[in-house]
């Protein structure tokens, strides 16, 4: 039986590897969901009613059902239902499936935040820009954009901090993220078995990372605090 001080570096190493996967999923989700969410928000604000209705329905379904189920559907559906296991069984396939599910899910959440931010800018701003002879793109970039950003930073930071924790759901399709790594020491891994503390210890990773994000978002909010309205 290894002593704790012998176990610790081994566990830390394994958790680091797991957290790297967590981080990768987090970043890929953001890179995909931030722009996709904007596109979805334009769809839901479209003046073409059938499009906006359709988009709103999809957003409602995705936001109304558990991400865990969406993960399972994305990962298993192609193989089990359509007999075409596009993801394969390996870690790369699991990651790709997880990324797709996370991007779609978070894009829907982000789209609602974007929509709230865009619709929250008073219409008078648009009209003031118009009567001053600005082009439509000038009105968007010079007048609305910063006001939208200021409105969406607080809800976005909430959602992004939730995303950090949500990445643990990818465990359900056996993605080897940090929780998976912590859990492996229960069953036995790297010569360590029956240990629960590595699983508890994974929380430290989440706390530290979210602490960092909270500080960064706080700074951004402060930067945008120079004006009100």
């Amino acid at each position: 039986m290894m002593s704790f001080s012998q176990q610790f570096p081994i566990v830390l190493n394994a958790l680091n590897v797991g957290f790297l996967q967590t981080l990768k999923l987090f970043i890929v989700t953001l890179l995909g969901a931030l722009p996709l969410g904007l596109i979805i928000s334009f769809g839901s604000m479209s003046k073409f009613k059938p499009l906006s209705k359709l988009v709103k329905t999809i957003v409602w379904i995705i936001r109304g059902s558990p991400l865990m189920i969406q993960l399972i559907i994305v990962f298993y559906m192609p193989g089990i239902v359509f007999g075409n296991p596009i993801w394969g069984g390996g870690e790369t396939g699991r990651f790709a499936a997880a990324a797709v599910a996370f991007i779609i899910n978070y894009a829907c959440y982000f789209s609602e935040i974007y929509r709230g931010g865009i619709e929250g800018v008073p219409y008078g701003q648009q009209e003031a820009g118009e009567v001053l002879g600005l082009t439509k793109s000038q009105i968007f970039f010079k007048i609305k954009l910063l006001q939208v950003i200021k409105r969406i930073v607080p809800p976005m930071s909430n959602e992004i901090i939730t995303l950090v924790k949500d990445t643990s759901l990818a465990r359900i399709i056996a993605l080897q993220e940090v929780i998976w790594a912590g859990e492996s020491f229960l069953k036995g891994s790297h010569g360590i078995a029956g240990q629960i503390w590595p699983l508890f210890f994974t929380a430290v990773y989440y706390l530290l990372f979210n602490g960092l994000l909270t500080i960064l978002f706080g700074k951004l909010e402060k930067k945008l605090d120079y004006y009100r309205g």
Partner: protein
């Protein structure tokens, strides 16, 4: 030649015909005050003139040049609207300053953007280095002009402030300076003082009076009768989408022809 000529202007929202054939001409340097009961179409008329609403029928000309014609689709293309609308300026009831720009930058934003577009052309014709010098010179002129306008509305010391730091009356004066910066031929005001606390109305009306004195052509929707009597060259009473009364302030206020006008004047006194 009249500076503004509106002919047979119609506008409806759904089944609600809000403007029922407005005919109006305005001479350069005149101040036109528009009065009328709520829902009569005053705002809609100003919004049509400023291309914020598209009239269903009619024409609008400035200095004899047609800027809107319901039968000429080219006058409803955004690109053309953008050029034509610069004949007009509009000051809103709710100011609509840009909250994220300082007072000075609120005033300079549109002129600077216009300059940027102009300089692209200039660069093509005169080369990069000439364009650079010209641009610096013109930017300085824009800033100079913005500062002069701020002085004109009595807010020089607020150049660096943000709108949220200003009172309503100050915000409205900045909005006026912002509109003036583009040197519109006709400056329109939609109830510029009705969102203000009573003690702030005077400072805004003073700016309007000075503008009038300096010969600016203005259209002002307002219920400030004393202001109208003092400043207006002409008053029209808009009622249910038509011009019900049209004349000098004395004619309209002291000797109205229509029963409806008399009722309205009594109701606001």
């Amino acid at each position: 030649m009249a500076i503004l000529e509106i002919k047979n202007l119609h506008k409806r929202f759904g089944n609600n015909e809000v403007l029922k054939g407005i005919d109006l001409t305005l001479e350069k340097g005149n101040v036109l005050v528009i009065i009328g009961s709520s829902g009569g179409g005053k705002t809609t008329l100003l919004r049509c003139i400023n291309f914020l609403e598209k009239p269903d029928k009619g024409t609008i000309s400035v200095n004899g040049k047609t800027v809107f014609d319901s039968d000429d689709p080219s006058t409803t293309v955004y690109k053309n609207i953008r050029k034509n609308r610069l004949h007009f300026g509009l000051v809103f009831q709710q100011f609509n300053l840009f909250p994220h720009y300082s007072v000075l930058n609120n005033i300079m934003l549109a002129p600077k953007l216009a300059l940027k577009a102009e300089m692209k052309e200039y660069k093509k014709q005169n080369g990069a280095s000439a364009a650079k010098a010209e641009k610096a010179r013109r930017l300085k002129a824009i800033e100079e002009n913005a500062k002069n306008l701020l002085e004109q509305v009595g807010l020089s010391e607020k150049a660096a402030a943000y709108p949220f730091e200003l009172s309503g009356g100050q915000q409205q004066r900045v909005a006026i300076a912002r509109a003036l910066a583009l040197e519109p031929d006709i400056l329109c005001f939609d109830e510029p003082t009705s969102a203000l606390d009573p003690e702030l109305v005077g400072e805004v009306l003073r700016v309007l009076k000075e503008l009038a004195k300096s010969g600016k052509t203005m259209i002002v929707v307002t219920h400030e009768m004393r202001f109208a009597k003092e400043v207006a060259d002409r008053v029209i009473f808009v009622n249910e989408g038509t011009i019900a009364e049209d004349g000098t302030p004395e004619q309209v206020f002291d000797n109205p022809q229509k029963e409806r006008t008399k009722q309205f004047l009594q109701s606001i006194l």
